[in-house]
C-alpha cells in the first residue's frame, strides 16, 4: 500500500463512465453481492462496483475501502453506507445498507429458528461440528494472509504489538475495551514517532 497520499482530486482518470446508480439499483446491487458472498462479501463488492457496473475505478474503490477498514465496525457494512451516500446522499446510504443486510438477515434468522428447534438432533450436531472446524480454518487463512506482509517487512514493533494484544485477549482473556484503551494510544503514538523520525 502506498503511504503517500494518492492524487485523489485529479479529475483526469477517464472511467468510470457509468451513470450514477438509482436507489433501486443500489439496493439490488448490494443485495446481490451480499447473497453471493459466502465467507466474505468484499470480493463480490469489488467485482460488482468496479468491474460489472463501473460505478468506481479500482483506485477509487481501494481508497473507499481503506477508509471503511480504518473505521471500526463491519467493513462491508461501512462500505455500503459510504458508497451509497456518495451517489445518492442519505437515501442512497440506506438503500445500500438495507440491500446488503436485509436478505441475509432474513436467511440467518430462519437458520437460527431451525437451529433453536433442531439443534439437538444428532445428525445435525455432527454436521455442524464439521462445519465449525472448517469455519475456524477459514478464519486462520484470513489471519495468515494479513500476517504475511508484516512478517515480510520484519517490523518488530508491529509484531510485538500484535503478540501483546493476542496474549492479553486470547490467552489471559482480558476485556477488550481495557486492552484497546492501552494498545491503541501506544500503537498510534509509536507510529507517529517513527513517521517523524523517518
Amino acid at each position: 500500500m502506498a503511504l503517500d497520499s494518492p492524487p485523489a482530486a485529479v479529475p483526469a482518470a477517464a472511467p468510470p463512465a457509468a451513470a450514477a446508480p438509482q436507489l433501486l439499483e443500489l439496493f439490488v446491487a448490494f443485495a446481490k453481492m451480499s447473497l453471493a458472498g459466502f465467507g466474505g462479501v468484499l470480493v463480490w463488492a469489488r467485482r460488482s462496483i468496479v468491474e460489472q457496473h463501473r460505478w468506481m475505478t479500482a483506485d477509487e474503490f481501494n481508497e473507499t475501502f481503506a477508509l471503511c477498514h480504518f473505521l471500526p465496525g463491519p467493513n462491508v457494512v461501512n462500505l455500503s453506507v459510504v458508497f451509497g451516500s456518495r451517489f445518492r446522499g442519505i437515501p442512497g446510504a440506506i438503500a445500500a445498507f438495507v440491500g446488503l443486510l436485509g436478505p441475509p438477515v432474513v436467511i440467518v434468522t430462519i437458520l437460527a429458528a431451525l437451529y433453536a428447534r433442531y439443534g439437538e438432533f444428532d445428525a445435525l450436531r455432527r454436521a455442524l461440528a464439521g462445519v465449525s472446524c472448517v469455519a475456524v480454518g477459514l478464519l486462520f487463512a484470513v489471519i495468515f494472509k494479513m500476517l504475511m506482509p508484516l512478517v515480510r517487512k520484519r517490523d518488530p514493533i508491529a509484531l510485538v504489538l500484535l503478540a501483546g494484544v493476542f496474549v492479553a485477549v486470547g490467552l489471559l482473556r482480558q476485556p477488550m475495551p481495557v486492552v484497546l484503551a492501552v494498545a491503541i494510544p501506544v500503537s498510534i503514538g509509536l507510529a507517529f514517532a517513527r513517521r517523524r523520525a523517518a
Binding site: 497520499s5 451480499s34 458472498g37 465467507g39 466474505g40 481503506a66 477508509l67 471503511c68 477498514h69 480504518f70 473505521l71 471500526p72 465496525g73 463491519p74 467493513n75 457494512v77 459510504v82 445498507f97 443486510l101 438477515v105 440467518v108 437458520l111 437460527a112 429458528a113 437451529y115 433453536a116 455432527r126 454436521a127 455442524l128 461440528a129 464439521g130 462445519v131 472446524c133 469455519a135 475456524v136 480454518g137 477459514l138 478464519l139 486462520f140 487463512a141 489471519i143 495468515f144 494472509k145 508484516l150 504489538l161 500484535l162 503478540a163 494484544v165 493476542f166 485477549v169 486470547g170 490467552l171 482473556r173 476485556p175 477488550m176 475495551p177 494498545a183 491503541i184 498510534i188 507510529a191
Partner: protein, 178 residues
C-alpha cells in the same frame, strides 16, 4: 430463548452497540469480546452454541457480522435478531457516513494512513485471539484439528470457494469422522 422482554432488547442494543466500536478492522476482531460477554459474562449461550453460531454465520451468505443475528435470536427471538444486527451495524455505519463527508470536504490529509498502519497489527492480534478461542471449542479431537489445519492450508494456497470447504466439512462431520 430466555427472555423476550424489552429489558432483554435494551441489553442487546447497548451490548452490541458498544461492541461495534471495538471491531477494529472488521467483525472477526470483535469475536473475543462477543464471546466473553455472551458466553462467560451473561451466559446467553454455551461455548458449543457459540461455535455453532460462528459456523452457521460462515455458512450463510452475507457479511460475517451476522453471527450477532444468531445471538440476538437466541436471546430474544426475531426482535432480538433485528436489534442485535442493527446495534452492531448502525453506530459504525453512521460514523463512517460522517467521517467520509468530513474527509471529502477537507484536503487529503495523511493522518488516516498513519493511524491505519498503527491499527493493522492490533486488528490481526484480535483476529488471532478469535481464532484461538474458536479453535479451542471446535477442535476437540485430533481429526477436527486436522480438518481445521487442512482448511487453513487449502484456503491460503488455492482459490476454492469457501462454501465448498464448509460443505465438505459438514459431510465429514455427518459421516462421523470427528
Amino acid at each position: 430463548m430466555n427472555d423476550t422482554g424489552v429489558g432483554a432488547l435494551l441489553t442487546l442494543a447497548w451490548t452490541f452497540g458498544l461492541m461495534s466500536l471495538l471491531a477494529i478492522g472488521g467483525a472477526a476482531a470483535a469475536i473475543p469480546e462477543i464471546h466473553r460477554v455472551v458466553v462467560e459474562l451473561r451466559h446467553w449461550m454455551t461455548d458449543l452454541q457459540f461455535a455453532d453460531a460462528f459456523a452457521i454465520a460462515q455458512l450463510s451468505p452475507g457479511p460475517n457480522v451476522l453471527i450477532v443475528t444468531l445471538i440476538g435470536y437466541q436471546v430474544a427471538g426475531i426482535a432480538g435478531a433485528l436489534v442485535a444486527t442493527l446495534a452492531m451495524c448502525v453506530p459504525t455505519a453512521t460514523l463512517a457516513y460522517f467521517v467520509n463527508r468530513l474527509l471529502a470536504r477537507s484536503s487529503h490529509s495523511r493522518w488516516p494512513s498513519v493511524i491505519q498502519a498503527a491499527l493493522v497489527p492490533l486488528s490481526i492480534g484480535l483476529m488471532s485471539a478469535s481464532g484461538l478461542i474458536l479453535a479451542l471449542t471446535a477442535d476437540r479431537s485430533l481429526a477436527a484439528a486436522m480438518i481445521t489445519a487442512m482448511t487453513a492450508l487449502l484456503a491460503s494456497t488455492t482459490r476454492l470457494n469457501p462454501l465448498w470447504l464448509l460443505l465438505a466439512g459438514g459431510c465429514l462431520g455427518f459421516a462421523g469422522v470427528l
